[in-house]
């Protein structure tokens, strides 16, 4: 890893609670695989994007630290337990603090991180203070996706303006979500010099996905 290259840090926050077990978690694993393979075909993504995976069920865990695309290995993911969304947000804030480089006199900082959250339920822990901190400090551009009938979009709306909803947890919809994530990463790495505070540009969401107003 170079000390001088400006990286585009990308964090995937994946819900691995009990309700994701079975087909949904398998679809998520396939999705991560497809995402990596897609990004590895893009020279710009290969030179800039770094990927980390944080999973949350009864606890939150960074299963892959921020890693160069060429070295990224798909993490072992399994589903079971509750939905410690607040713990995941706190962990995300810690990871960004520790892993993302800010600009200094002698170093060009990383690009502003991109965070994709996928959840199918409602938090089972205290999430509000972690969400408030993220919203106040705005250390990343956060895109949240509520998957299936039981996902709580109002919680996600507390965290970010950018909330998507997919109506069911089908393998097809999850695959589409990851395809969209990869297009978003590619598009972001192209519009990296967007103005401060300006909304990042994302591709239109896949069919069947609704932008939560």
């Amino acid at each position: 890893m170079s000390d001088f290259t400006r990286r585009l840090p990308v964090y995937l926050l994946l819900d691995t609670s009990g309700s994701m077990s079975g087909d949904p978690i398998e679809a998520v694993k396939q999705g991560v695989k497809a995402l990596i393979s897609e990004l590895r075909g893009d020279p710009q993504a290969l030179e800039t994007a770094y990927l980390s995976v944080i999973t949350f069920n009864s606890q939150a865990r960074q299963v892959t630290p921020l890693t160069e695309l060429m070295l990224f290995k798909e993490p072992q993911i399994s589903a079971g337990g509750a939905t410690a969304f607040g713990a995941a947000l706190s962990l995300l804030a810690d990871c960004i603090r520790n892993e993302v480089r800010k600009s200094t006199e002698t170093q060009k900082g990383d690009w502003k991180p991109l965070v994709f959250i996928l959840t199918d339920g409602a938090p089972t822990d205290d999430w509000r203070s972690a969400a408030e901190e993220l919203k106040a400090t705005h250390p990343a551009n956060i895109i949240a996706c509520a998957a299936g009938a039981y996902a709580d979009t109002t919680v996600l709306k507390e965290l970010t303006e950018c909330v998507l909803m997919m109506n069911n947890l089908s393998a097809g919809d999850l695959a589409q979500f990851f395809t969209w994530v990869s297009s978003s990463i590619k598009m972001s790495s192209k519009s990296l010099d967007a103005k401060p505070g300006a909304n990042i540009e994302l591709p239109p969401p896949p069919q069947g996905f609704v932008i939560v107003p």
């Binding site: 290969l46 030179e47 006199e105 990383d110």
Partner: protein, 404 residues
């Protein structure tokens, strides 16, 4: 892919760029709307300075088949040089149009007003007076005001380009057009040779990029003066633009103005596509200067190459035609290979190796330095560097010469 992927050893930048080299596509500039040329070069010798400049379309634009968003302009008025470089915001559709309008408007207005001021006021003599002389100060103030006014007018010129295209279906077919679609930076400098053998440099910068002066007879620690003040936020890429509302007040332009009276020295202006590759700009603008000398783009002081210096030469492929590669010399790699510091390499610049002469080197191009500069900008390799690249080098021609 490298074996390193198996055991999580971090990859070197060279390993990553070697892997991506063949993946970068070449797609021509799109035909509409308002296509801009792929390349732009300038090579002029005037009485006191030579101006060499080139602009190349970045790899990401070549890959996607989009336009180059950089522009530059330069003019000479009785030995005085006026220069501007602009970088259109990468994600904005018509920023190239803004960039060209900003440079053209600025350079034309300053040229006209310098011409008028120079003829009427005998400014040249006053500018050579001692730094605390009222006549010197008033002459400086006059020139600075001309540039600052032109700088604000450049922003208005960008707005006019936007207004002129309103309602034109060629520009609105993809959706509503906004002023921010024309957003661009502006890096400017006037270089004025003085009767006493010195020079006055006046620079104004909005947004990223860089303008600096280089005194080659000074040591590494003091040879460089940054004349630009780039705006930057916490994270990379958080830049301001000429068109930002807060740029339009005289106070804002004043705070972005720098004056310097010095010995005759080289002045370089560039877009962030080059400046970011030499970060931190102080002192790495000097590494850029060494790279230009090592690749035969600007002359090095005469001296016999030293065997102590082992050049780092990399074959870098050309995105436009991947069967073609050029032997490019790198100063930082050279210092590393030779086991010497950049300070030492700078001191030894008269003894640098001659530019690569082998087949497929820049030396094979015509003698025109702008052509060499253009190709060098097009092929030198750095990981994560795929933006448009523009560089203008203003070199003293006479006694007191930086290249002595």
């Amino acid at each position: 892919m490298s074996d390193n992927t198996e055991n999580n050893v971090p990859l070197t930048d060279g390993e990553v760029t070697a892997h991506t080299a063949s993946m970068w596509r070449y797609t021509p500039v799109p035909e509409a709307p308002e296509p801009f040329p792929e390349y732009k070069e300038l090579c002029e010798k005037y009485s006191d300075y030579s101006v060499t400049a080139a602009r190349v379309r970045g790899k990401k634009h070549k890959h996607d088949g989009s336009n180059c968003d950089d522009w530059f302009e330069a003019a000479e008025i009785g030995g005085w040089i006026v220069a501007a470089v602009s970088d259109g915001a990468g994600s904005k559709r018509f920023s190239r149009i803004g960039a060209k309008a900003a440079c053209t408007s600025f350079v034309n207005e300053v040229r006209d007003n310098f011409l008028a001021a120079g003829q009427t006021d005998g400014l040249s003599e006053k500018l050579s007076l001692s730094l605390d002389s009222p006549d010197f100060i008033s002459a400086c103030t006059k020139l600075t005001e001309i540039m600052q006014t032109a700088f604000i007018h450049a922003s208005e010129a960008v707005e006019r380009e936007f207004e002129n295209r309103k309602g034109n279906p060629e520009f609105t077919s993809d959706g509503e057009m906004k002023l921010s679609d024309f957003a661009c930076t502006l890096v400017t400098c006037s270089v004025i040779p003085l009767d006493n053998g010195e020079q006055l440099s006046i620079a104004i910068q909005a947004g990223d990029g860089m303008v600096c002066s280089v005194s080659t007879d000074e040591p590494y620690g003091s040879a460089l003066t940054l004349l630009g003040i780039p705006d930057s936020g916490d994270f990379s890429g958080e830049t301001e633009f000429l068109t930002s509302a807060k740029m339009h007040t005289p106070a804002a332009v004043q705070s972005r103005t720098k004056l310097r009276r010095s010995k005759r020295s080289a002045v370089m202006l560039m877009s962030d596509g080059v400046a970011d590759d030499y970060f931190p700009n102080s002192p790495k603008m000097l590494n850029l200067y060494l790279d230009l000398m090592m690749n035969g783009i600007i002359p090095k002081p005469s001296g016999k190459p030293s065997t102590e210096i082992i050049p780092d030469i990399q074959p870098n492929s050309w995105v436009n035609d991947k069967d073609v590669s050029y032997a490019i010399a790198y100063s930082e790699g050279t210092a590393e290979k030779s086991g010497i510091s950049m300070e030492k390499l700078w001191d030894m610049k008269a003894y640098l190796p001659d530019p690569p002469e082998s087949e497929g080197s820049l030396s094979g191009l015509s003698g025109n330095p702008a052509e060499k500069l253009c190709r060098w900008l097009d092929v030198y390799l750095k990981r994560g560097s795929f933006d448009d690249r523009t560089l203008m080098v203003i070199l003293p021609e006479k006694a007191g010469d930086a290249n002595g």
